[in-house]
Symmetry: C2
Subunit: 358 residues, 2 copies
C-alpha cells in the first residue's frame, strides 16, 4: 500500500539503512539527515511494515493474553489493566479466549500464538503438565495471573487465605452451619479459584471444631444465576445454613437474591460473604474479600515487559493481599446470644482503587 523504505530513501537522498536508523531514533544519525528522513517519510505517508520488521528483528511487540472468560468481573479487570500497561509500552494485545475444554485443547495443541507474540499471559488457568510443556517449548516469557506455578512467574492472591478470612468472619459472628457456594465452569479444572477457596473454607471450619457437612458444599455455574440456583438448593434442605460463603461476588449476589426471594432476610436469616469486591458489592452491601484485580493484571504485564526488555528476572511468585470488607450482609445468627453482637460490622467503605490511567 503505502510507500516503502526504498522510496523514502530515494526521496531523502539517503540509503535505506539510514532511513531505518533514523525512523527508529538510533543514535548514529546526524540531525540534518534525521530531519530529511522525517520529512520524506511524512510526505510519503510512510509507515514501517510490521511483518517485515518482525521478520527482520524477530520481535513482534505483541503479547498474547489467554483467558477462559472475558465477561466475568475478575477477568475483565485483569485484561483491561494488562492491556493498558502493555499499550503504554507500545505492545499490542492478542486476545485468546479458551472458554470450553474443546477450545482450550485446540489452543494448546495448535498454539495459534506461536511465532506471533513475544510473551504470553494466562489468566486463572491451572495448567496441566502437557500445557506447561507446550508453553515452555515456545521459548518466550510466560506469566500467570491467579495461579501459582513452579514453571512460570505468577501474580495472584492466596485464595485459601482469602476464603479463610471470609469464613472466619462468619465463625466469629457465631455461625456454625456455614455453606460454601462454588462455581463450576465448562471445564471443571479450568480455573483454580474454587478449589483453593474451598480449601480455606474447610480449614477454618476444622480449626473451629465445626463438623464439616458435605451437603452444605454446593456448586453451580459461576454466575449470578448459578448463585441463585445453588442457594435455592440449600434453602430446600430441612435445616438450611445460617451463613454462606460464595466463591465470587457474582455468585454471592445470586445467593442474596435467592434468600430474599424465599421471603428471608440478609443478614437476619442468612449471612452472605463473597469474594472479589465487585463494583456491585458496595452497592448491595455485600460483605466480601477484596482482591486487587487491576493490580494483578498490570503487575503481570510488567513482569513480562521486564523479561522482554532486560532478560528474565527471578521467576517471582507475587502474592498480593486480600482483605475482608465487612458490610451489611453479615451478622450473628438469629437467636445467638446477645454477647455475640460484640463487633457490629463497622461498615467500612472499600477504597475503590481507581483505574490508574486517563
Amino acid at each position: 500500500m503505502g510507500a516503502s523504505i526504498h522510496e523514502v530513501a530515494r526521496h531523502a537522498g539517503v540509503s535505506t539503512a539510514t532511513v531505518s536508523r533514523a525512523m527508529r531514533g538510533l543514535p548514529n544519525v546526524s540531525p540534518q539527515t534525521r530531519q530529511r528522513v522525517a520529512r520524506a517519510a511524512a510526505e510519503l505517508g510512510y509507515v514501517v511494515t510490521h511483518s517485515a520488521s518482525v521478520l527482520a528483528t524477530g520481535r513482534t511487540r505483541t503479547v498474547a493474553v489467554v483467558a477462559p472468560y472475558l465477561t466475568r468481573w475478575f477477568f475483565a479487570q485483569v485484561i483491561d489493566a494488562a492491556g493498558e500497561t502493555l499499550a503504554d509500552n507500545d505492545y499490542g494485545v492478542l486476545l485468546y479466549n479458551v472458554a470450553c475444554a474443546e477450545s482450550r485443547a485446540r489452543f494448546f495443541e495448535r498454539m495459534p500464538l506461536r511465532t506471533r507474540v513475544d510473551a504470553v499471559m494466562l489468566v486463572s488457568l491451572r495448567l496441566s503438565d502437557d500445557e506447561t510443556r507446550a508453553l515452555r517449548k515456545l521459548g518466550i516469557p510466560v506469566a500467570l495471573v491467579g495461579v501459582a506455578s513452579e514453571a512460570f512467574p505468577s501474580v495472584r492472591v492466596d485464595d485459601a487465605d482469602g476464603a479463610a478470612l471470609a469464613v472466619r468472619h462468619l465463625v466469629d459472628l457465631g455461625h456454625r452451619r456455614i455453606a460454601m457456594v462454588a462455581g463450576v465452569g465448562e471445564a471443571a479444572t479450568a480455573v483454580p479459584a474454587p478449589a483453593d477457596r474451598r480449601r480455606g473454607y474447610l480449614e477454618v471450619l476444622r480449626g473451629a471444631g465445626i463438623a464439616v457437612d458435605p451437603s452444605l458444599d454446593v456448586s453451580a455455574a459461576a454466575t449470578f444465576d448459578g448463585g441463585v440456583e445453588a442457594m435455592s438448593r440449600l434453602l430446600a434442605r430441612r435445616v438450611p445454613p445460617t451463613a454462606v460463603f460464595a466463591e465470587s461476588d457474582e455468585m454471592a449476589l445470586g445467593v442474596m437474591r435467592a434468600v430474599r426471594r424465599a421471603g428471608l432476610r440478609v443478614p437476619d436469616d442468612v449471612s452472605v460473604v463473597g469474594f472479589d469486591d465487585h463494583d456491585l458489592a458496595d452497592l448491595m452491601d455485600l460483605t466480601t474479600v477484596a482482591q486487587p484485580a487491576q493490580e494483578q493484571g498490570a503487575l503481570a504485564a510488567s513482569l513480562l515487559l521486564d523479561a522482554l526488555e532486560t532478560g528474565a528476572g527471578p521467576p517471582a511468585d507475587l502474592v498480593l493481599p486480600t482483605r475482608l470488607v465487612p458490610r451489611r450482609s453479615t451478622a450473628p445468627p438469629r437467636g445467638s446470644a446477645p454477647l455475640g453482637r460484640r463487633d457490629a460490622p463497622p461498615l467500612t467503605r472499600a477504597v475503590a482503587g481507581p483505574r490508574t490511567a486517563c
Copy 2:
C-alpha cells in the same frame, strides 16, 4: 527457532514450493507427497512463521477490535462474541482500548494497527470526520457496532426506538414525571448511546403531551455508582420523579439502590426501567429494554469476514430489534386510578440467548 520450510523440504525430498502447497492444503499435490511433507513437518516441529507468511501474502489473518471499555456489560459481550466468531475462522483478535480522550487521540493519530490487521471493528464509537478519514485511509474493511455511519457498515439497535419502548411503557402506566439517567464517559462524545436514548425519551414525552422538565434529565458516570449518584440528586428535589428511565441496566441498578437507600420502594414509590437486559436485570426484577449484544458482535465479525473472503458486500446497516422485558420494577404511580392497573407486568422471563459455542 524452529525448522524452516527449507529443512522440511530437504527432509521430505521435495521443494519448498511443494511444502508450502502441501501445508496449506492446496489442490495440486499428490497424496503421497502430501503425506511425506506432513510427516517431515511433524518430525521437525515445523510451524509457518507468521510474519514471513504475512509479508509474502499481505494478509495477517488478524482483526483489530477497538472499544472504549472492556469491563462494561455490553462491550464485554460484543468483544466476546466477535472473538469467538473470528477464532472459529482462524482469525486472531488484536485488542485496542481507547478509554480516554487522550488514548483515543493517540490511537487514531498513530494507528498502531496499521499494517498489522486485515480489518477493524469498532464498538460504540461515534467517529469524527478525521477519525473516519483515518480509518478509510487504511484501505481495509471496517465495521461498526452500536453506531450508524454512512462511511462503514454497521450492526446496532435503534437506541432511540429502544428508549421509546421504555418510556412509553412508563407513560402507559400513568407516569408523567419521568426522569432520564444518562451516562457520561471520559470523552463525552465517545459513545453515542446516551444521546440517542435521550432522543427517544424526549420524543415519547412530547408525543404524550408531557412538558419536558430539563432538571429531570441527569447525567453521571455510566456505572452502578453513577446510577446511585444520579438518583440521589433526583430524590433531593422538592418533587422527585415517579419513574426513571436509566440509559443502561448498570445505571438502573444503581438507581434502584438509591431509591431503597432513601427508604422508598421500587416500584411503589418509583418505577425504574433500564436498557440492555444485563444478566443481573432478571435477578433484580428490573424491567428493561433487551438488546442482543452477543449477536451484534458476532454479526459484525461475520460482516468483516465476508468482506475479507469475498470482497465487500453491500455496506449494510443491520439494525437488530430491541424489546421491552417487563418485570417488577415498574408499576403505575402511587395514587393513580385503579384502572391504571390494566396490565399487570406479565413477568416475562427473558430467554437468555445462550452463548453459541462450547
